[in-house]
């Protein structure tokens, strides 16, 4: 009962407004951001089952996460983004059946996003590039925190033409230290390179008009991560995004496609739902 209350408390505490950008896929950044002095809020809730296949201590791990992402436009081209993940993790030893529950706020990511290039070629057509820079800062909540400040630098690109939207990005996370605990990609003591590409197709409306107030997209994403300890992983995401004038809702699933993991459990299928607001 206490664990259920803890789970509910974590999920409720994380149910704060979370930022959102239009035509941005679920799992990866894009070169879109709030305008000057505008807040965007996005809330994601997700579940992943992981398998720890170590010979001496195999386990099944159920991981629930709520992630609150708050963006603020400092200028028309520069935004600040804070990502706050809250996690509940239940590990079940496959041999003994013992269960262990861990919950709390993981390390917080704070990024600047500077759109340094833009070419608006049509009413809705555009190509944009943005530089990402910042760091993951520790919450020192054991055992979820890396307990180190880890700089992040990257670049994101967006190209929208007609009903098609293409996004891509690369981010490098420099892990400066902390305990060598690993659960998810980039959480351990080794540097991580993240690369994402995604494609959104607007299924409705076929064409924008003066009465257009919403749009629906099919979303496909491929996410790749390489860690300097040799762990690599590729995941495919599929989802739907519904976008209105001031809010959007999304649902997506993510599958493992490729993995060579020696130092952390294997994540299986992930399911994520989210909502976005613009103020």
């Amino acid at each position: 009962m206490n664990k259920l209350i803890s789970l509910a408390a974590v999920l409720l505490c994380a149910w704060i407004v979370a930022p959102a950008s239009g035509q941005q896929a679920t799992f990866a950044p894009a070169a879109v951001q709030p305008s000057a002095d505008v807040w965007q809020f996005r809330q994601l809730v997700g579940y992943t089952r992981l398998k720890d296949r170590s010979a001496d201590d195999p386990a099944t791990i159920d991981r629930w996460e709520t992630r609150s992402i708050i963006s603020y436009g400092l200028t028309g081209d520069l935004a600040l983004v804070a990502s706050i993940p809250s996690v509940v993790r239940v590990s079940r030893d496959d041999l003994s059946g013992d269960r262990d529950t861990v919950g709390g706020i993981e390390d917080i990511t704070i990024l600047g996003q500077w759109r340094f290039w833009q070419d608006d070629s049509g009413a809705t057509d555009t190509t944009r590039l943005a530089l990402l820079f910042g760091a993951e800062v520790p919450t020192f909540i054991t055992p979820l925190s890396s307990e180190s400040v880890d700089p992040i630098v990257g670049i994101a690109a967006t190209h929208i033409t007609g009903r098609h939207s293409f996004n891509g990005g690369v981010r490098y996370k420099l892990n400066t230290g902390g305990p060598d605990k690993r659960m998810m990609a980039g959480d351990g003591g080794h540097d991580a390179l993240f690369a994402d590409v995604n494609y959104l197709y607007r299924i409705a409306p076929a064409a924008y008009g003066p009465d257009t107030t919403a749009a629906t997209y099919l979303v496909s994403e491929f996410s790749f991560v390489y860690e300097t300890n040799g762990d690599t992983e590729g995941r495919l995401g599929l989802g739907i995004l519904y976008e209105a004038r001031t809010w959007a809702a999304e649902v997506a699933v993510q599958f493992p496609v490729w993995r060579d993991l020696r130092y952390r459990p294997e994540p299986g299928v992930s399911i994520v739902v989210g909502i976005r607001f613009l103020f």
């Binding site: 201590d57 009413a123 809705t124 007609g162 003066p210 590729g234 495919l236 809010w247």
Partner: protein
């Protein structure tokens, strides 16, 4: 649960479901193709606002002008376009904003006693993250705003 580092068995390789899905995604994206842009206009403009080279900005207001018609580029999506509403409605004399995503036409109704300048309108669009191609001022008349 042990917390020290442990070695895992190597499990490299493609999952049985992931590879066909990835292949399907790649082929379907290639089949959709892209719509080539019809123009190659740049978006770099003056410091007051992002404008298109050769853009038309009407700087003088006709008598009784109470509406600005702007041609804006890069609106992208409904949620993105809402940034235009937010920036323009923050201006003192702006009463109403209508955005046509299909054409990029943005209609801005304002108090004729306190008309905004073209520079201010262009700056607001710039701050919203988009590009202004044209600004014209009109005196909107009639119930439906027809001239």
């Amino acid at each position: 649960m042990k917390s020290q580092v442990r070695k895992y068995k190597t499990t490299g390789g493609f999952s049985t479901i992931g590879l066909p899905l990835l292949a399907a995604m790649v082929f379907s994206a290639a089949a959709c193709g892209t719509t080539p842009s019809s123009e190659n206009a740049t978006s770099r403009g003056d410091q007051e606002g992002r404008t298109v080279e050769g853009s038309e900005i009407q700087v003088s207001l006709p008598e009784g002008a109470n509406q600005a018609r702007m041609s804006v580029r890069g609106l992208s999506c409904p949620l993105c376009a809402h940034n235009v509403d937010v920036q323009l409605l923050r201006m003192k004399s702006i009463k109403q904003v209508e955005v046509d995503l299909g054409t990029g036409l943005v209609l801005v109704d304002f108090d004729p006693n306190e008309p905004p300048s073209a520079d201010a309108l262009a700056r607001a669009v710039r701050n919203s993250g988009f590009t202004v191609e044209k600004i014209e001022f009109h005196a909107k008349t009639g119930v439906n705003g027809d001239e």
